[in-house]
């Protein structure tokens, strides 16, 4: 089994040079101009919050909401860590956009055959043991890739070694854990990180889906039972009417 990979983004190191975005765009053949927000032609971008630069990309969750939402299973969490998108399966329902707690997936609204777009942590490159293009392009220590456990250890080491760091690794607990981690010296809520659930999102729908057998068994049984009673009543009423008619009490069998 391949080892699950993860990316660590150290916001104290980022110099905002946009090399990551440029490398990503070059790899995917997108126009090279930098963009302000994630888009179908920008799978990673760099936001500026005060004097800090925050690189955004798909968090590649451990238990992704998008993958549980996708009715045809086009989105999938791979053993290697990336959450991949199989455009051959997608029907364009856009439930993944509704579901994603980080608002990452983008839709090609302008196209006549539109697909969902998002970063897949360079799954194809990683499968060939190459680092993601954005990490490779980073000239400083702001982005690094490695085994998920080692990366978490490294993040832990960095925030313990220096008191400037916020004592939290963003992504270690969020939505049950992700494959992209952030460490920072500025509180995360000031850098545009929205509060998210601490439990994996698919837990929210798993309970409802677990009720299906109960609804089918109990509901089906109940309705069948009620139908049996209804039928029995009709049968008894008919038999009684016939009996009454035969014994000649003069009762009209049609008025029972």
């Amino acid at each position: 089994m391949p080892k699950s990979k993860a990316i660590l983004i150290d916001l104290t190191e980022c110099i905002g040079c946009l090399s990551c975005e440029a490398a990503c765009k070059q790899l995917h053949g997108f126009p090279p101009e930098p963009e302000l927000k994630l888009s179908p032609t920008a799978f990673t971008i760099v936001e500026q919050h005060g004097d800090r630069f925050v690189r955004r990309m798909c968090m590649n969750c451990q238990d992704p909401a998008c993958a549980s939402a996708c009715l045809v299973g086009a989105l999938r969490k791979t053993e290697l860590g990336p959450v991949t998108y199989d455009s051959a399966k997608c029907i364009g329902c856009r439930y993944c956009l509704v579901a994603c707690p980080f608002n990452v997936p983008r839709y090609q609204w302008a196209k006549l055959a539109p697909f969902v777009t998002k970063c897949d942590m360079c799954y194809a490159r990683q499968a060939k043991r190459q680092p993601p293009a954005c990490v490779e392009a980073c000239p400083v220590q702001a982005s690094m890739v490695g085994g998920r456990d080692e990366i978490l250890e490294e993040a832990q080491k960095r925030i313990l070694a220096d008191s400037k760091y916020v004592k939290h690794i963003y992504g270690s607990e969020e939505v049950g854990g992700t494959s992209v981690f952030y460490i920072s010296d500025v509180p995360f809520e000031k850098l545009g990180f929205n509060p998210v659930e601490s439990q994996p999102m698919p837990v929210l729908t798993a309970n409802a889906l677990g009720d299906i057998p109960t609804v089918v068994m109990v509901g089906g049984g109940l309705l069948a039972g009620l139908y049996w009673i209804t039928n029995r009543r009709k049968f008894v009423a008919l038999a009684e009417a016939e009996e009454a008619a035969r014994s000649g009490k003069g009762k009209d069998p049609h008025h029972v």
Partner: protein, 389 residues
Amino acid sequence: MSNIRLPKLTFWRTVVAVIFLAGAYAAYARFALGFERSTNLADSQPWGLWVGLGTLCGVGISAGGFALAAAVYLLGFERYRPVVRAAVLLSFLGYLSVVVGMMYELGLPWRIWHPIVMWNRHSVLFEVSWCVMLYTTVLSLEFSPSLVEKIPWVRLRDWYLKWHHHVLIALVLIGAILSSLHQSFLGGLYLLAKGKVDPLWYSSYLPTLFYLSAVPAGLSATIMAVYLCNRSLNARVDPRLLSEMSQIIAPMLYIYALLRGIDLATHGGAGYLFRWREESLLFWFEIVLFVLAPVFLLSQSRVRNHPNALYGTCALVVMGFMANRLNVSITAFQASSGFYYVPRWTEFALTLATVTASGVIFHYAVKYLEILPRGVPVKNWMTSHSASA
């Protein structure tokens, strides 16, 4: 003089023609120009009017079919038999509109069959798609005798009707279960969007709430449809039957309101009830329209027993229901997305044209098939030999 008789130009025909023309342009815009130039959808509001109005309301308002079929065939409420065919037809056309809606709602509609072979059983939408597929099939079978009994070939007709009689109970039972599942799972879709849905609408009971609200809305829509047929298509359904049906609606709305109230009080949404913001106003709009006004009106026997007043009250229930679904699917996302979605006119036009088409088909079905008891003999549709027994 030409022998071709053009249809008479009436007010309603003109309205329908205008709606279809607008719908035709909107369909052109959707398929030839794409989402960007036919909708105001965006990444932060990926589901808009087509999902909120077309799918959520379409499926919900079509709940009357399974409820009445179950009441008549399974629970023995024989007195509702005169309206059961109308209810089933209304539901069938409702689901057909939803399926047609999917064709412009989905980005890649030619792949609509994918869920049949590509499964993800962790997906609520997967369950919904299967239930809708199966239930639309069940509805077409439940409705089929209305068409088959017009077939002039006696042996085929009798064979089919005999066979149908044997499986009808099973169909109704399966239909009731499938309906219960997907009516609630449409609410279940939004469970996954916790944190994005406004606290006034987010609830872990969303599936139950969707189910409990769909049934009264479906019954109200059925009452409305039968009332209109009585009025303009010479149908002869005893208004007392409709009045009696409406008595079930108020208790259902009570239960719904009770669960909604308890849930708001315990899940912290109650704190948002009286804030001066658009969401809270729209919440109260929905509650007044869907629950408070109808519950009061239906408690008055004067209203229940007056066909016009009953029709108006049922219209309130249906509109309140639509307000709820649009609130859940659109209003509830505004604050978290920071995006103010107002549907483009082409979005309205396509949904309106789809619903209107269903209405037109319903009209002609009631006119030429035996859907409701009518004051004049039903015209023979295919042949003069058809048995109208």
